[in-house]
């Protein structure tokens, strides 16, 4: 059976092993079972999965918090409590046994048999390793879901901006299963290493790219208690690990032994080390104003609603936010700074020689890093996990389960951080499909001659501003309050204008973008 005549020797067919066959059978049976249901209710399944995830994460946090406050703190105050000696792996700091847990749960509202079971269910939750595994699982899941759905969303946004629909087929509702399907395709694709490449480095490079962006999630707080490792230097840590990501990209370009890849990697190195400086300096401005490097500490000073957000606290922070956003676009190699993968000049830049699974790792790393950068921007400048309403308004709600849920939805909860980060992510996508790519000399000019001096001035100005506000001068307090109100109003006008334009676009969604713009925009 000769289908094509090829200049190389065809490879002998490789029979599937037992494990592969089992996986294939499993996949086929799951598909056969799920496909009819999924194609019947696609949107409902997607939305309920999102809601179920949120509720699941929240219930875990409530459970851990309850064990902390009700069991562990009660155990510490027991008269005959002795903390356990450090055991082999020192898994728990408290050493509660099921009988201690049973004694501590004084409210016997459940039946005795169930209650006995409950002691054994609660017992593992005291161990750090259990909590770490649960938290790491959640982060790993998020790390996988974000790129998949941001890529789908990017394709939809690109489609809308170019007056087309984007993915519409796979999965039924607006092609929502397009990205998972692409992922499966990428895993099954052949993994090629070019003959002239430096093999070990070529295979290692994608992992060196993806591990730093995974590590950044370890220290990223999603809410006041939703953080895997509360670091006092979380900001520097995240910047550090994201900066180390570039090593993988450079090695990928170098090991490919292909001039397009090397050009891409060189542009990336050049761009990355230039833009790291204005990015770090722009983040120094709020750090100077607040006086801490801990992301939770920075978010804590922004509890007072919209006008207390750091971006509106003084003009230097406002300008620093803009500088940070531009510099982060460049260090993430997003348009208009996406020269390392400029497809019109460099084929695909440093990923030219990659295929399949390794290729997808680069994009996982890139999109996850985009999310981390946006989350940092939201935490440092835009109030973190606090809503535009002052947190003090929720003070009268109490401490019940429902009250906590309401507080999380209305005042401060991870959902707000996700919302803000995803909005900034949308702005990144929007810029990518709107602005043309700029030249390499323009990229470097805008860094070294515009952003760098500007951020230096901002750091100096923020220092002077902070020094002035330590004096508790009445006149200065008035100036500060007035500044907050003016800058906050500018922000309100921006967001209001955005919502108005988006609403107008949604109202006229049946029209083509081109002639809609021609009708509305003056001078077109």
């Amino acid at each position: 059976m000769t289908q094509f005549s090829v200049p190389w020797q065809p490879r002998p067919a490789h029979p599937y092993g037992m494990a592969s066959r089992a996986v294939i059978a499993l996949a086929q049976s799951v598909y056969g079972f799920a496909a009819p249901i999924v194609s019947r209710f696609p949107g409902a399944i997607l939305i309920s999965a999102v809601i179920a995830t949120c509720v699941g994460v929240w219930m875990h946090s409530v459970l851990f918090g309850w064990v902390d406050t009700q069991l562990i703190q009660a155990a510490v105050t027991l008269p005959d409590y002795t903390p356990p000696a450090l055991s082999l792996l020192s898994p728990s700091t408290w050493g509660l046994t099921p009988s201690v847990i049973h004694a501590l749960r004084v409210d016997e509202t459940v039946a005795a048999s169930v209650a006995g079971l409950l002691d054994y269910v609660l017992w593992p939750v005291q161990f750090w390793i259990v909590r770490d595994v649960v938290g790491l699982g959640a982060l790993f899941g998020l790390f996988n879901v974000i790129p998949v759905y941001v890529i789908w969303w990017e394709r939809k946004v690109a489609g809308r901006i170019q007056s087309r629909l984007g993915p519409m087929r796979v999965g039924g509702w607006h092609g929502w299963a397009q990205s998972p399907a692409d992922g499966i395709k990428l895993i099954l694709k052949e993994d090629l290493v070019p003959a002239g490449a430096d093999g070990p480095l070529f295979r290692l490079a994608p992992y060196l790219t993806i591990i730093p962006s995974l590590l950044a999630f370890l220290a990223l707080p999603f809410g006041a208690t939703y953080v895997l490792r509360e670091l006092d230097v979380a900001l520097v840590f995240i910047l550090g690990v994201l900066g180390a990501e570039v090593v993988g990209v450079i090695l990928a370009g170098w090991a490919s032994n292909n001039k397009w890849s090397v050009y891409g990697a060189m542009r990336e190195a050049c761009q990355m080390i230039s833009y790291e400086i204005p990015m770090g300096m722009a983040l120094l401005v709020p750090v100077i104003c607040v006086g801490t490097l801990s992301l939770s500490g920075i978010a804590d000073v922004q509890q007072g609603g919209w006008f207390s957000w750091i971006a509106f606290s003084n003009p230097f922070c406002f300008a620093a936010f803009v500088c940070y956003f531009i510099a982060s676009l460049a260090s993430l190699k997003r348009a208009p700074f996406d020269l390392p993968e400029a497809e019109s000049e460099l084929v695909a830049g440093f990923v030219t020689e990659y295929s399949g699974f390794r290729w997808s790792l680069f994009f996982f790393a890139e999109y996850a890093a985009m999310f981390v950068i946006c989350a940092i921007a939201s935490i440092v400048f835009l109030g973190g996990w606090h809503s535009p309403l002052p947190a003090s308004w929720g003070g009268g709600l109490g401490d019940g389960l429902l009250a906590r849920g309401l507080t999380g939805l209305l005042f401060s909860g991870p959902i707000w951080l996700m919302f803000k980060s995803v909005f900034l992510l949308y702005v990144q996508l929007w810029l990518r499909w709107t602005l043309p790519r700029i030249r390499i000399d323009q990229v470097l000019y805008s860094c070294i001659q515009v952003l760098l001096p500007l951020t230096m001035v901002l750091v100096f100005g923020a220092t002077v501003w902070t020094w002035a506000s330590t004096g508790h001068n009445a006149l200065w307090s008035t100036v500060e309050a007035a500044t907050r109100i003016i800058l906050g109003s500018i922000g309100l006008v921006f967001i209001g204008g955005f919502i108005a334009i988006a609403g107008y676009g949604f109202y006229h969604r049946r029209r083509m973008v081109g002639n809609l713009v021609q009708d509305v925009m003056p001078g077109s």
Partner: protein, 217 residues
Amino acid sequence: MSIDRVNQLSSTCVRRRFALAPALLVLGVTLLCGTRAMASSGGEVVTTAAEPGSLLEVVLFYAVATMTIVSSVAVCMSKNIVRMALWLFMTLASVSFLYFLLAANFLASIQLVVYAGGTLVLLVFGVMLTNKSPWARYTPGKLELVGAAAVCSVLLVALWLVFLRAEWSRLPGAFAGTSVADLGRSLLSVYVVPFEVAGVLLMIVMVGAAHLARQDK
């Protein structure tokens, strides 16, 4: 390299590619255990290293120390310049991990930012810009070897003397780490002169580098 060899390589690669996923997971879990947030009774969260003396800490220390030593020896032994840079990256990253184990979070993060992220990229960038061949090899001359050996032995003796004279004692409990605020205060009060001297030195180096790099002198 023949086409058969390529085919053979790529098919082994297909089989091996999932083996790296567990390695990734193991790395993540080890890094997790390195620093450990301990909730004190007041609800305040303090970051400390793994409990001193616990098996976990000892295992992590020896693993990371071995990695540091192996990769720094590999920097010297490898001939390919880009491989050298990669091993240097491994060395710097594992030194940063050792700092994390010591609860010196700020120092560890700065190590990542400055050395692993900045200096190393600059180094690789320089290698890429200056080398004509992609397989640039470096073999040290005899004079260089002698010089390096002299410097290394002086350094070794000096370090050995310091280690012999130091009084080693174990900290009583979990070490809470040094706060960044304390570090900043001491840099700008007690150690302000060395700090400023280092700053001026770096400034001079930068001006000199800019002067050397100028096209029209």
